[in-house]
């Protein structure tokens, strides 16, 4: 699909590059997995794999929504603040039951997405600015809601959600996997998914073709907001504590990286959900590998930056020749 424009001059090389571009993230993931088998003690244990999976859940869930937004040529910087807002809201309504509390959180996420989506689709504000406002203000709002405090979550159902598992698979991982499948089907099997890709590919053409551009844009940001809210609920349940000041910090950047490393270009017009899952796993594994091998966190962070750069450098579209 994407290798169709390979230049005739060096078809072999171009095809190889195209392969790396499309499947690079899987190669990298497999390679890192093999490296870990050799160098990391107790890597291939159920315990360790479970820990890795649990830790990547928030990033992955946020990245699923981010992939849709980026598919429309947008970006959602507000996701971390939305997580913080949900984390602050969750304990406030626990008196009325866990279900209602989670429902309020989802509504808040949808409202945040509605605000961003409205600014982008109807006012015409650039996505990065429209969502920047919520990034700046949202965490403040979360702290105001929470009274600036860390609160313990004592609700048994939420604690079970955060710590429990079925057949050895933690609930949070299961939920993330189901969401990934749902979003994947949404992209590949529905009209909505095709509209997202069409709008990202060429907004004007999509408009002329009579696609409901504004409605699709708003929906995409609402979905992203709701997924961020789910990530906030899962992370809060996992911690058994509401931590609006720290939860979701820099997650927008981690999610964007997972999406882009997974093969969805920032310029829109293509969405890779499986790639996004692999991208999130790759990011998680990079950090885990370095830390488990006693590399200081600071060096791990620098290495992460370099690996991101390398991955994107390999994957970049060949528009340089134009």
């Amino acid at each position: 699909m994407t290798t169709a424009t390979a230049p005739a001059a060096a078809p072999g090389r171009a095809r190889a590059l195209g392969l790396v571009r499309d499947y690079g993230v899987y190669f990298a993931l497999a390679l890192l997995f093999l490296v870990n088998l050799v160098v990391t003690d107790n890597f291939l244990t159920a315990d360790n794999l479970r820990t890795q999976a649990v830790q990547m859940v928030p990033t992955l869930v946020v990245a699923l929504g981010m992939a849709l937004v980026i598919g429309t040529k947008g970006v959602d910087l507000s996701v971390g603040s939305v997580m913080a807002i949900t984390s602050a809201l969750l304990p406030l309504y626990l008196g009325y039951g866990a279900g209602l509390s989670v429902g309020v959180c989802l509504l808040a996420g949808a409202a945040a997405g509605l605000l961003s989506g409205y600014l982008v689709a109807f006012v015409g504000v650039q996505p990065i600015v429209a969502t920047l406002a919520l990034l700046v203000g949202g965490r403040g709002l979360a702290l105001v809601l929470a009274g600036g405090q860390l609160k313990d979550i004592r609700n048994p159902q939420l604690r079970e959600l955060g710590a429990g598992s079925v057949l050895g698979i933690p609930y949070t991982v299961l939920i993330a996997a189901v969401l990934a499948v749902l979003v994947g089907l949404l992209v590949s099997r529905t009209t909505f998914g095709r509209q997202v890709v069409a709008i990202g590919g060429n907004p004007r053409a999509a408009q002329f073709a009579g696609l409901p551009v504004k409605r699709v844009l708003v929906t995409v940001y609402v979905v992203s907001g709701m997924l961020a809210a789910i990530a906030g609920v899962l992370a809060t349940a996992r911690l058994s504590a509401s931590d609006p000041s720290r939860l979701g910090e820099l997650i927008e950047l981690a999610a964007i990286t997972a999406v882009v490393v997974g093969g969805t270009p920032l310029t829109g017009g293509r969405v890779r959900i499986l790639g996004t899952v692999a991208g999130a796993a790759l990011m998680q594994l990079i950090v885990a590998t370095l830390i488990k091998n006693d590399v200081p966190a600071s060096l791990a962070q620098m290495a992460q930056a370099l690996i991101i750069a390398a991955a994107v450098l390999v994957q970049r579209e060949g528009n340089g020749s134009r």
């Binding site: 600036g148 990286t257 310029t267 791990a300 930056a305 991101i308």
Partner: protein, 344 residues
């Protein structure tokens, strides 16, 4: 002659009848353009007037002087960000580079005195800017991802140098020349403020009066057209990221001179404040349009709002963030609507 009077009448009348709407539209368009370009300045003037009338301690030389020194660091960073954004790019690394440079300046001052305090941070921040510029300009990678890598890298390097933040580097009290750079005053105005103003003057001249400045606008307006016209697109982009890195490094250096130490926890989220100041100042994130004077007004506005909130009292820092965010929405929506009205 008399019969011609009424005959000529309609002729004369029709001209003004069509002219006023056109002229009014033009005047309205001009007003919209002024509001869009100088909106930040107008809001700033209103806020200063209202603040001065409401609070006794607001419009004092002491208060404004302090405010200006605090704002000067963001101003220097935002100047580089303006140039990057005009080319259609973005630089997310500036907050990390700012913090890293402060630590390097304090370390350099301790080891090699004034020369080390100035050269070490500028060399490193310039190198980070160069690396980012090469990846964006030559390798054609997305500025967002490249500078995000820069953000992580610089913050990681900072943590590494300070042993995960546990070590603080102090500027020796004997380095009076360096400390003076951050704490000294000339005619009652802090040195960082004077330096920032001088840099903005230079930046404005570069943007408006030089070929290099024109290239930034051309590339931001249409990269393909610029490249077809034979402009050195890649080289210009590389320069812009180097300038942005150097300015962020300089801001961190000045900050270390002012505080007398390299502080590891500063600069988080500063890139977003810089972007906000640039956008409030009327520079379009899509590139091709912008001015450094608007950015200066944007920075001043952010700090004056913060100070007014402080003066009102009763708001903590989280409430300030809410107000800042809400304000950003209002300004951006206003600007977008106005620029759209102008295009029609």
């Amino acid at each position: 002659m008399t019969p011609e009077g009424p005959l000529a009448g309609p002729g004369i009348k029709t001209a003004p009848a069509t002219a006023p709407p056109a002229e009014a539209a033009r005047r309205g368009e001009q007003a919209a353009r002024i509001v869009q370009r100088h909106g930040a300045l107008i809001v700033l003037a209103v806020l200063l007037a209202v603040g001065g009338a409401t609070f006794d301690t607001f419009l004092t030389a002491y208060n404004l002087g302090n405010l200006a020194v605090q704002a000067s660091f963001l101003a220097v960073i935002a100047l580089g960000m303006t140039m990057v954004i005009i080319t259609g790019g973005i630089d997310l690394s500036v907050g990390s580079v700012y913090a890293l440079s402060g630590v390097l300046a304090a370390y350099g001052a301790r080891e090699w005195g004034l020369a080390g305090a100035l050269l070490l941070p500028l060399a490193v921040s310039g190198a980070i800017g160069l690396a980012q510029g090469l990846l964006v300009g030559k390798a054609k990678m997305a500025p967002f991802i490249v500078t995000l890598g820069g953000l992580l890298f610089a913050r990681g390097l900072l943590q590494f140098l300070t042993e995960e933040g546990s070590q603080t580097y102090l500027v020796p009290q004997t380095e009076t020349a360096f400390l003076e750079l951050g704490q000294g005053r000339l005619f009652g105005i802090g040195f960082p403020v004077l330096i920032a103003l001088a840099l903005f003057l230079i930046g404005g001249l570069v943007l408006q009066r030089t070929r290099f400045g024109m290239r930034l606008f051309a590339i931001g307006g249409s990269e393909d057209a610029s490249s077809l016209m034979g402009l050195p697109v890649a080289r210009t982009k590389v320069s812009v990221y180097v300038i942005s890195g150097l300015l962020a490094g300089l801001a961190g250096t000045l900050n270390a001179a002012q505080l007398g130490s390299g502080v590891t926890v500063i600069g988080v989220g500063l890139e977003l404040e810089a972007i906000a100041a640039v956008v409030i100042g009327g520079t379009l994130l899509t590139g091709g349009v912008g001015s450094v004077s608007g950015t200066l007004a944007g920075v001043a506005l952010l700090y004056v709002i913060r100070d007014v909130i402080n003066q009102v009292g009763g708001f903590d820092s989280s409430m300030q963030a809410v107000v800042n965010g809400a304000f950003l929405v209002v300004v951006v929506v206003m600007q977008t609507l106005l620029s759209r009205a102008r295009r029609r």
